[in-house]
Symmetry: C2
Subunit: 308 residues, 2 copies
């Protein structure tokens, strides 16, 4: 173990951590980010980001990710690739284990994000962001007067299907078994069915998402044991949201029932000196704007924590 | 009074409200913003914004403000100029009085920001952002190895003076009467005085901030009744922060002891359907990144509120 103690280690290098790093490095705090996959996180794999404030005509996710990285590095942030296995709180010093190496730090920011649940069918990964979506708030507006498919039968699938009727002219809702949503939502859904805006297909599983010339055109499904082709312009999949918090299982960090990290308004977890921001946080909205805001707030709290 | 009921009225058109408007209008919610002075708020009057995420080399405040406005208007946000005198909660419908006209809305977002306390001396307004500053986190990094003056004697003046020693080679702290900061901060300050990093001038008032060729070069002050010239590269003034909440004095919105609006993590005030975000919120960090994040969170909450 090196005796060098960093001011702050950030776990993850998505928009939230990169923003926090702009702030901490501008304040001359020694800052290292550990990323196990892609700098820029989910944003980097988003085709076009339409609602990140400051880009009136939208910005390609990869471009935004690169610009965030450049900005953090300009002020001295160090981005390392590596897999964080665990963290340990020893009071004033915390220990982060990265690929079996123990690294010491005075504070930690956890911004590992979360992952959309997948249905793992052919075409899903290939057409992600170009006809296959996981976030209605992010991408619903691209489907004005189009046909959509929504996959899922839980609360969020029903809620988002209803939300998407603001844009789409018709929605096919594909439910693997039966609807698991709340009574209130089911009554609401009935109204949209009666109006012919949503058609519900129970006991229907998706087998393949097919695109022609780069545009999703239809799905191959099995409805009550029989093959069914569903024509559509896009698919929204709601198969749950999984926080990237597996490495915390032996820590004392307080998580909510779904595994997201609980924080207060200052992004502090239940352990002093350990902060969390962005999509991994309990109550996160899965929006880049919120992730960067929380990153800036977390940096502010880290700076105050280190001064005290 | 018009019988038309808006989905949401936003009070203020700074970065926080403009971001919220991008979200609400993208979701086809009818959104009107009332601004009494400058679209873009404090950001619009900031020379160069170095730490807004996504612009690796910084962005001029006025450019960022224009781009935020364009983005909100692109999705259908309506920005009106007018002075909001009061708001009234009537349950499902709220009434906003703008220049004596009563406007009805189903929800309200208050993003009126806050204002830096001024010392009202010649040169202060003229050189704002170009040698005269009110936010150390925002602008401290521009003064690496330079001389600085800090004006103020309260907790934030002392805290920020200590913070600015990370950049500046020397700081003159000008205190009108005596230091009002906490014991802990005063002991800390003593350390920096002993090291020669900060020189404290008690009973010293600032009379004029002077610039040559656009750069601040010195201040004319009065120390213990005698004139004193202080050479410096920049001045940071900490004369308090005033939330723009005077129009709420007859409402039931809960404020903190300094007049900032209290909210929960979802930006909801104590009154259902009335939200607040950005610099007017209790606990705000006065950072554009946080203001936009809170705007996006508020929009999310407004959307959920209107659906329920």
């Amino acid at each position: 173990m090196s005796d060098n103690i960093h001011d702050v280690i950030m776990i993850g290098a998505g928009p939230s951590a990169l923003t926090a790093a702009v702030y901490t490095t501008r304040e001359n705090l020694d800052t290292v980010l550990y990323e196990k996959a892609t700098v820029g996180g989910l944003a980097a794999s988003t085709d076009m980001v339409d609602n990140y404030p400051g880009f009136p005509n939208g910005v390609e996710g990869i471009v935004l990710a690169e610009q965030l990285q450049k900005q953090a590095e300009r002020f001295g942030a160090v981005i390392e690739f590596g897999n964080v296995d665990s963290i340990r709180d020893e009071g004033a010093v915390k220990v982060v284990t990265v690929d079996d190496n123990e690294i010491k730090t005075r504070s930690i920011l956890i911004s590992t994000g979360s992952s959309y649940g997948k249905i793992n069918v052919p075409g899903e990964a290939e057409h992600y962001g170009k006809g296959v979506h996981y976030c209605a708030t992010c991408d619903g507006a691209f489907y004005k007067d189009k046909r959509l498919v929504v996959v899922g039968g839980g609360n969020s699938a029903i809620q988002e299907a209803i939300f998407l009727t603001r844009f789409a002219k018709h929605i096919d809702l594909l439910v693997r078994s039966t609807i698991k949503a709340s009574e209130v939502l089911q009554r609401k859904l009935q109204k949209y069915e009666d109006e012919g805006k949503i058609t519900v297909h129970l006991e229907t599983s998706t087998n393949e998402i097919v695109a022609t010339n780069g545009y999703v055109t239809h799905l191959h499904t099995t409805k009550e044991g029989k093959p069914m082709k569903v024509e559509t312009d896009g698919v929204f999949i709601f198969a749950g949201l999984k926080p990237n918090t597996a490495f915390l299982k032996n820590s004392d960090i307080e998580l909510d029932e779904s595994g997201f990290i609980k924080t207060d308004l200052n992004m502090q977890t239940n352990i002093p000196g350990i902060f969390a921001s962005g999509d991994v946080r309990s109550g996160a909205t899965m929006q880049i704007a919120c992730a960067v805001g929380e990153g800036a707030t977390a940096a502010h709290s880290i700076s105050k924590y280190l001064q005290s």
